[in-house]
């Protein structure tokens, strides 16, 4: 059976973009090509995460298969995607 593709939406609202979200758009450079092949990645308008920021949940936000993740760095994105891919 064919595996479900991973839907990744990177928030490119201004708040996320300037607080590190922009670097996530270089995913082509830091994601393993094999992993990259399983993902559909797109930039998206503000996901609203910044409106409900708390002490531990800050921009940048990324949505993976419908789940919103906070404080996403390139390293964390790799980790999160690996988890989802191997689940």
């Amino acid at each position: 059976m064919r595996k479900q593709r991973i839907k990744v939406r990177i928030c490119v609202g201004t708040a996320c973009f300037v607080q590190g979200g922009a670097d996530l758009l270089l995913y082509g450079d830091f994601l393993d090509p094999e992993l990259l092949g399983e993902c559909d990645i797109e930039g998206t308008s503000c996901l609203g995460g910044c409106k409900a920021e708390s002490r531990d949940r800050k921009a940048p936000f990324v949505e993976i298969n419908g789940t919103l993740h906070a404080n996403v760095t390139p390293a964390l994105l790799v980790e999160l995607l690996r988890e989802v891919a191997h689940a």
């Binding site: 708040a15 300037v18 590190g20 758009l25 308008s45 503000c46």
Partner: protein, 485 residues
């Protein structure tokens, strides 16, 4: 040099945002002294030794944002509230552009090469054989460097097959192209302002954030609330710094309360035309090479360190200067603010009557967040006729100025171009030689930041990504005329 976005720059942006939010909410004076605690809560896992030091550094960052010259005015007994009152009452002086936070300085040990435990004590001993100063000895079967003899040439590092040699630099000193950074008797960083060219490379390199620019943001925010119309002059590098297209970025800038937004590329057109005419004249008269004049850190470099270049550089004013004059004519009784990636522009702007303020893209980003403006959701400004100057948006990229000039000379094929892409210590040494032996070029394009203004100290986005996000009109994508070397 560090990446544009790292823990430190992101923290800085966050502090800027919090301060601005409080200012717009009208309670900055009231809460400013609690901001360091709010930003660094007790529970935080600190990157420095403890949360208290981090709070102290947040306090310093707020001071630099207020334009305080921390070197001179580090009154620990003065609450931040007092600093806010002073800045709101009177604009702080613009120069010097950089200041240091000595408690933040890690007093890095002097630059050195060091042989680590990875040394296998091999038989061939290439480190020893290649050391020009006989500075390497073997003790207990391992190589060691005799400090007194070592001249930091780095030969041993190059030849060690086990990569056992490490280079430990002092990042700020290494980044400074003009030796303006020294350590004082206590080992803390100090800037020699008589040598400093305000390129900002040191501030970008210090991983402790001990060198900071003195912001000019508050004078601008005050202007915006004063009722006088303020014109935003946006540097060509702005395209690619924010999500959304250029028309949306313009709309977002207007939403901040600016009366008008003007592209500095418009002034760049005047600069390019002027330089093209000057270049043709020089080539006809066989007067030798001409350098560009739009990079203000380079202008400082020539003034302070390479005076023979003063009559080599173009007499054209910078795009910022032409744009400001244009705006002053078109919208009289207005104030004009330059928004760009550059620190040295503040030095230049302080000499030009038509410019009333300079802020960076990073500060603009903080303004957007504080005002809850999402660039990508903005209704773009109506299309404008930019055809005449849109190729001059390339001024933001290395070789872009040269391209714009070449497009405006009669015979571009005949022009030999030498791009100086980024100025470091070595480049300065090379340029010094030009006094005796001129470069074999007709047009020398100098950009102090490697990659051009897209990599300036005030940008938000990794230059690599910025190039990709720009809508076209950049060298990498267009590359119309191959440069002759």
């Amino acid at each position: 040099m560090l990446e544009i976005n790292n823990q430190y720059t992101l923290m800085k942006r966050r502090i800027d945002t919090e301060v601005l939010k409080a200012f717009f909410a009208g309670d900055l004076e009231e809460i400013v002294d609690t901001l360091p605690i709010k930003i660094i809560p007790r529970e935080r896992v600190p990157n420095r030794c403890c949360v208290y030091k981090e709070r102290a550094m947040v306090r310093y960052r707020i001071m630099s944002l207020l334009g305080v010259d921390i070197d001179r005015d580090d009154d620990e007994l003065k609450p931040l509230r007092k600093f806010v009152q002073e800045t709101l009452a009177q604009d702080p002086p613009v120069l010097p552009t950089l200041t240091t936070i000595s408690p933040g300085c890690s007093s890095c040990p002097d630059e050195q090469y060091h042989i680590t435990d990875s040394c296998r004590g091999c038989f061939a001993r290439p480190c020893m054989a290649n050391c020009p100063k006989d500075a390497i000895v073997f003790v207990n079967g391992r190589a060691r460097i005799i400090e007194e003899r070592c001249v930091n040439c780095g030969k041993c590092l190059e030849v060690c097959p086990f990569h056992a040699v490490v280079h430990i630099p002092v990042p700020c000193e290494e980044a400074c192209p003009v030796d303006a950074i020294k350590k004082n008797a206590e080992g803390f960083v100090e800037i020699d302002h008589s040598k400093c060219i305000s390129c900002g490379h040191c501030a970008r390199s210090c991983p402790f954030g001990a060198i900071v620019e003195r912001s000019g943001l508050f004078p601008v925010v005050k202007m915006l609330t004063s009722g006088t119309p303020v014109v935003a002059m946006i540097a060509p590098a702005i395209d690619g710094q924010f999500p959304g297209n250029l028309a949306q970025i313009k709309a977002a800038v207007l939403a901040l309360g600016f009366a008008a937004v003007v592209e500095v590329a418009q002034g760049a057109l005047v600069t390019a035309e002027h330089e093209a005419a000057e270049l043709s004249g020089r080539m006809q008269a066989k007067q030798g090479y001409l350098t560009t004049s739009c990079c203000p850190a380079y202008m400082e470099l020539a003034d302070k360190h390479l005076p023979f270049l003063q009559n080599r550089r173009s007499s054209a004013l910078s795009p910022m200067a032409y744009t400001a004059k244009l705006c002053a004519q078109r919208i009289p009784d207005s104030k004009r603010v330059f928004i760009g990636p550059c620190l040295a522009k503040k030095v230049e702007a302080s000499k030009i009557d038509e410019i009333d303020g300079v802020i960076s893209f990073s500060e603009l980003a903080a303004l957007f967040i504080a005002k809850d403006i999402d660039v990508r959701e903005m209704q773009p400004v109506p299309p404008e006729d930019t055809l005449a100057f849109q190729d001059c948006r390339e001024f933001a990229c290395s070789q872009g100025v040269a391209h714009s000039v070449l497009r405006r000379v009669a015979d571009p094929e005949a022009v030999r171009v030498l791009p100086v892409d980024g100025v470091d210590r070595k480049t300065v040494r090379t340029m010094k030689v030009w006094e005796k032996r001129p470069p074999e070029a007709d047009l020398v394009e100098v950009m102090c930041c490697e990659g051009g203004c897209l990599a300036g100290p005030g940008v938000v986005v990794n230059p690599k990504l910025a190039l990709r996000l720009r809508q076209g009109g950049n060298v990498a994508k267009v590359g119309a005329i191959p440069l002759r070397k």
